[in-house]
Each structure stands twice: as structure tokens, then as C-alpha cells.
């Protein structure tokens, strides 16, 4: 703190006595301040915080003495010594006149210094207070953003238990859980270097990318590649993110994982016997450039009685009261003692009792997942939207048949229908079977039985391409009707080619046969299938309101 070379202003409150005049003259002579202001004692108040170092000069101090002095850095100058009782009512500085000028000068300078220092201290305290309030406000905002960013984190998934204990207000660890569209489960545990707000910042883009990609059902190899690309660009060189990510299949029997710089996740059975240690095979995210990054996954088989424990190094580096690390061995012993999900609270209590009163030195995260069938259905259908009834008809010429991907084109016309999304694969299949039958058997005269062996199978499709290219005449007509009230699609396909015998095509129905499946599929997946004119025309329907097609 800066000390001014000379005090700018000193205020002197006095009682107009000759004693006061004498003191003021002496003080002026000492030239302790650039300016000395004189004030009437009556205008002084003990409750005020004076703007400048202040001297009080009076013959009779009784009027100014009070224990409730707002600023103790004030100097009272009196001609007679104060009694003990009087002194006890004056928390400020006091001197009895006369005093040798050297002592007087020192005492006044000391009071000035004390006054200035107290003022600076007060200013610092106020700015600190203001700053704290601002930080609190900003933390609130950031917490709000985090809550929203993680609002869809599925930590309530019934077969997982988690412990997330940040060492500071914000967690540099991240534990994300979300279902995938195929009914599987994605779980990610990540640990940014350091703890507090800075690492937590990295959690935002990571979690957003995680949820968006999980919705699309992409593989975790693709996820980590994207995460690494993003973090490599975003993070400073000395910051990176250890990450363990896994996908459990809907059956709970297959677990794929990628471990970059995290402690080995443990797979153990109901007895707590460790079956696998899923060790890190990779560097943490954000370290390697996209060219050097390795997204190689490992897949293991799991059983419904298996558990997977994921944890950050904060768990095994947990410090006890006696400053000992927990260590991997002890942690594994704890897991063996409390293997199941219902034991999780006791496992946490065990860790807590190990730590005792020792504060957390690092963020600590632990998740235990049981490899049960996930029972996660497909995501909910989009809200019901009513569509117009419509029909369309398309008569495809030889040129169209040679150039267009007809089935995809028809499907793209239907794509905007409500609820089509979860039926598109089935409708594609139905259209493809009906269309290929018309084209391959009706117009091109191909015989499915050719497909019975692998060579013939390839040859069949080679022949299909050759004959289609050489086709000179013929047409296929497609008609689609949509009945919105029944959510019913009605298809009709006709062709100009030779009639063909369906019964011959489908006479036996062995599951291993590589041909003749199309008609069976059509009959089982569509409604009201009817052939007319010896296979020259086929008609079938499909209800879009059948819930998920698996219900059929």
C-alpha cells in the first residue's frame, strides 16, 4: 500500500480556547500536512467517519468522550491527563499537552498512518465483498446452465447407482447416462484435469455432443473421435480429459468400451469376483490430433448378474485421516464386500468412513451398473400430427426403371407422414419385395431358384443388371393411398410382364433357403395381401398406428 510522502489534509476540531490556539499554532509549525483545516468542536460527532485524519483539541474533554467512537484513528489533545475512568470512555488516541515537538510530530504522523491504513483496508474489504457477490451471481448463472445442459442425464436409470462428489463447487468429473435408439445404454465417465470451474467448462460441449450423438445411435467409436476432435481444438495444451465410455446392448449381454486415461473399470460377478479389468488402451481425450487418434473399441460378453464399476482416480486416491491413499486393492475389496446395487449405499458409507474428516482433494465419481436387459424401448413417437388423405400413382417406363431408385423415391414421398419414422424400414421392405418381384420375375423373367447357391446368387444379380439394361418395353405402375383416420397405407403394384406362378415360388418355406423369402415377408408384415391376374398385380396395406412394428 502506498504511503503519501506528506499528508494532504488534517482536520482539527477545537473549542476556541487559548489552549487550542496554542496547539494549532504548534501543529501548523510542524508542517505535517499540506492543508490544515480548522473546525468548531460542536460540529464534530463521534458517530461520523471522518474523511481525513482528525485531531480534537479541547480543555474539557467530557463532551467528546464516548466508547461508541466510529473511527478509533483520531487523536484527542488535552491539557490535563485523563483519569482512568475517562480513558475507558475513549477508544481513540490521546496525548497530554505539552509534548516535545518531536514526540508530537511522531504521534500525529502515526495517527495519520493508522487512519489511512484503516481507510485502505475498508476499501479493500468493500471491493472484496462486491466481488464475492458478483462471483456468487455468476456461479448461480453457470449452475443454471449446467443444470439445463445435464437435465436429460438419465442418472435415474434403474440399474445404475452413482456417487458424484465434487471437491469444489463445480465438478471437473462428468458422469452421463442416456438410452440409445436401439434400446442400448450409453454411459460415460470423464475427468478433466484439475477441478473447479475451469474443467467444468469443458463438460458443456462434451455433454451436448454426447446426448446428440446418443440420440442418433452412433457407435462409441464415432463418439470418442468427435469428442477428441472438439476437445483437441478447445482445450489449452495443459488440459485434457480422461474418459471411459461404454455401450451396453439392449440384451445386457454385450458391452463395448473405450478407455482413455481412466482407471480400469471393473467387471465383477454377484460374489464380487473380478472378471475383467477394463484398462485404458488410449490417451485421454484432447491430447492427440485427430490424425493420431485411435478409436479402437473392445467388446466383452456380460451376464445379467455382472456389475461394472466405473470410477475416477479421485476414488482410489481418496485420502484417509492418516493421510493414506485408499488404493485399488482396498477399493476392490470394498466392492467384493458390497457387490450389488442394493449395497451401494453401504459401499459409499465405507468410503466415507475411510475418509473421515479429511477434506476431498479431488473430484470423486463412482458408478455401478448392472448388466441387465435394459428394457429401454424406442423413444416416444413424435406427437400425433394429422395429415391429409391423398393418393398418388406413378407409371414407370423402361427408362425410369433403368435410371431411378424407385423404392427409395416412393418412400421419400411418404416420408412426411406422421408416424412413418418407426415404420420406414418395414415399408421399404414391403415395397422392395413387391417391386422386385414385378421387375425381376414379371419384366426380366429371372428365376429365383438360381439364387440357391452363393455363385448363383451373385450371377442372378449380374443377370438382373444386364437384362434391365437391355429391356426395351414394359412398365410398372405403383399406386399409393393414404387414409389418415385409420393411419392406413394401401399399395398397389402392377406390371406389364409375364404372369408368374407364386405358388411355385413359395412352395416350401425352409428357413435356410436363400430365395423366395420376399412373398413370405410380404404376407407376414403387410395386411390384406392379394394377388390378381397371376401375379401381374399385387395389393397390400399397412397400418401406421400399430405402435412399434415389433408388436406385430
Amino acid at each position: 500500500m502506498l504511503q503519501p510522502s506528506k499528508q494532504a489534509v488534517i482536520d482539527i476540531f477545537h473549542d476556541d480556547s487559548s489552549f487550542a490556539a496554542q496547539v494549532i499554532a504548534e501543529v501548523r509549525r510542524l508542517r505535517l500536512a499540506r492543508k490544515i483545516r480548522q473546525r468548531k468542536l460542536a460540529t464534530w460527532s463521534a458517530a461520523d467517519h471522518p474523511p481525513h485524519p482528525t485531531l480534537l483539541v479541547t480543555v474539557d474533554a467530557t463532551g467528546v468522550l464516548t466508547p461508541a467512537l466510529a473511527c478509533a484513528e483520531q487523536l484527542l489533545i488535552v491539557p490535563e491527563p485523563l483519569s482512568i475512568r475517562e480513558l475507558s470512555r475513549w477508544p481513540g488516541e490521546v496525548i497530554e499537552w505539552p509534548l516535545h515537538p518531536t514526540h508530537l510530530s511522531r504521534r500525529i504522523q502515526r495517527v495519520c498512518n493508522a487512519f489511512n491504513t484503516a481507510g485502505q483496508l475498508r476499501a479493500v474489504r468493500e471491493s472484496l465483498f462486491w466481488h464475492n457477490r458478483r462471483v456468487d451471481r455468476e456461479y448461480e448463472l453457470i449452475e443454471h446452465i449446467f443444470r439445463n445442459a445435464l437435465s436429460r442425464n438419465y442418472l435415474d436409470y434403474p440399474h445404475i447407482r452413482t456417487l458424484l462428489a465434487p471437491a469444489a463447487k463445480f465438478n471437473g468429473d462428468l458422469c452421463l447416462v442416456t438410452p440409445g435408439p436401439q434400446g442400448g445404454l450409453y454411459v460415460m465417465m470423464a475427468d478433466f484435469t484439475g477441478h473447479g470451474l475451469a474443467p467444468a467448462t469443458g463438460a458443456l460441449p462434451l455433454s451436448q455432443a454426447f446426448f446428440a450423438m446418443a440420440d442418433r445411435g452412433v457407435s462409441i467409436a464415432e463418439m470418442v473421435t468427435e469428442f477428441n476432435y472438439r476437445l483437441h481444438r478447445l482445450l489449452p495444451n495443459d488440459m485434457f480429459c480422461a474418459c471411459f465410455i461404454l455401450e451396453l446392448s439392449a440384451s445386457g449381454e454385450r458391452l463395448s468400451y473405450w478407455n482413455g486415461g481412466m482407471p480400469p473399470a471393473l467387471v465383477y460377478d454377484a460374489e464380487g469376483t473380478i472378471r475383467h479389468r477394463l484398462k485404458a488402451q488410449h490417451m485421454a481425450l484432447g491430447v492427440l490430433s485427430p490424425d493420431d487418434f485411435d478409436a479402437q473399441l473392445v467388446t466383452i460378453r456380460t451376464e445379467r448378474s455382472d456389475f461394472v464399476a466405473l470410477y475416477t482416480d479421485g476414488v482410489i486416491e481418496l485420502l484417509s485421516q492418516q493421510h493414506e491413499f485408499l488404493g485399488a486393492e482396498t477399493f476392490e475389496r470394498y466392492l467384493a464386500d458390497y457387490p450389488s446395487l442394493s449395497d451401494f449405499d453401504r459401499l459409499v458409507a465405507k468410503l466415507e468412513s475411510f475418509r473421515g474428516n479429511q477434506p476431498l482433494h479431488d473430484d470423486l465419481s463412482l458408478a455401478v451398473l448392472q448388466c441387465l436387459p435394459t428394457e429401454l424401448g424406442a423413444p416416444d413417437e413424435e406427437a400425433e400430427v394429422h395429415a391429409l388423405p391423398f393418393s398418388f400413382e406413378s407409371r414407370l417406363t423402361v427408362e425410369d426403371l433403368q435410371q431411378l431408385d424407385v423404392v427409395s423415391a416412393v418412400l421419400s414421398v411418404l416420408r412426411r407422414l406422421p408416424k412413418l419414422r418407426s415404420h420406414r424400414t418395414t415399408i421399404y421392405l414391403l415395397l422392395a419385395e413387391a417391386f422386385n418381384n414385378a421387375l425381376e420375375h414379371g419384366l426380366l423373367g429371372l428365376d429365383s431358384r438360381m439364387k440357391n447357391d452363393p455363385e448363383g446368387f451373385a450371377y442372378y444379380y449380374q443377370l438382373r443388371a444386364e437384362r434391365l439394361a437391355a429391356l426395351r418395353e414394359g412398365w410398372i405402375a405403383i399406386r399409393v393411398e393414404y387414409h389418415p383416420h385409420e393411419h392406413y397405407l394401401k399399395f398397389n403394384l402392377a406390371h406389364s410382364g409375364e404372369p408368374y406362378d407364386l405358388t411355385e415360388l413359395e412352395q416350401d418355406n425352409q428357413i435356410q433357403r436363400t430365395y423366395g423369402r420376399g412373398v413370405t415377408l410380404l404376407q407376414q408384415l403387410a395386411d390384406n395381401v392379394q394377388w390378381h391376374a397371376n401375379g401381374q398385380s399385387v395389393e397390400f396395406g399397412y397400418y401406421l398406428n400399430n405402435g412399434n412394428s415389433t408388436a406385430r
Partner: protein, 101 residues
């Protein structure tokens, strides 16, 4: 590339993924994907995660693959099927021939 394959470095797992449309358009790519299996009798995974559409020719191709490699592999799994794809495989009783997961 709509058919991709990956054999793990220990040669014990071969994953073949089909992206987008699985039909006769990929017949040669698909055959090529299982043409070399190594000597480790790998476990084969057909990953249909990104298979949007398929038709009966895809079923034929899967059966041809099975005929060709069944003796030389540990097992054949069809994985990551969306509900609709799973339904089609079930109707075709593929669960009797493959491990569908």
C-alpha cells in the same frame, strides 16, 4: 463406403458394418468383407446399427455368408438391430441361425 469391416489386432473379432441400404447393391462388397478371416476363428459381428433399409436379398446374403464361413468362425452375431430390423429377422426365423443381440 456402405460396407466396412474391422478385424481386431488379436484376430479374434471381425465386425462388418452395413451403412444405409443393405440389399443386392452391396453384394460384392459384403462378400469381400468376410473373404479373409485370419487363422484365429474369429467371432463375427454383423453390425446393423446404421442399416436403414434392407430387403430379402440382404437376408439371402446373410445366409450365403453363413454357409461360406460357419465352419471357420467361432460364432456369428447380428448386433445393434433397430426394432423394425429385429422384427424382420425374427419373422424370417434368423434367430435359429444367428445369435441376434
Amino acid at each position: 463406403m456402405s460396407v466396412s469391416r474391422h478385424l481386431t489386432s488379436d484376430g479374434k473379432e471381425l465386425t462388418i458394418s452395413i451403412h444405409g441400404k443393405f440389399d443386392f447393391g452391396v453384394v460384392n462388397d459384403f462378400r469381400r468383407a468376410y473373404s479373409s478371416l485370419g487363422d484365429e476363428k474369429p467371432r463375427v459381428y454383423i453390425d446393423l446399427r446404421e442399416t436403414e433399409y434392407l430387403d430379402s436379398s440382404a437376408l439371402g446374403m446373410l445366409l450365403n455368408m453363413r454357409k461360406a464361413i460357419n465352419e471357420h468362425v467361432e460364432s456369428i452375431h447380428i448386433i445393434n438391430c433397430r426394432a423394425e430390423v429385429r422384427n424382420i429377422l425374427d419373422i424370417s426365423r434368423f434367430d435359429k441361425l444367428f445369435i441376434i443381440d
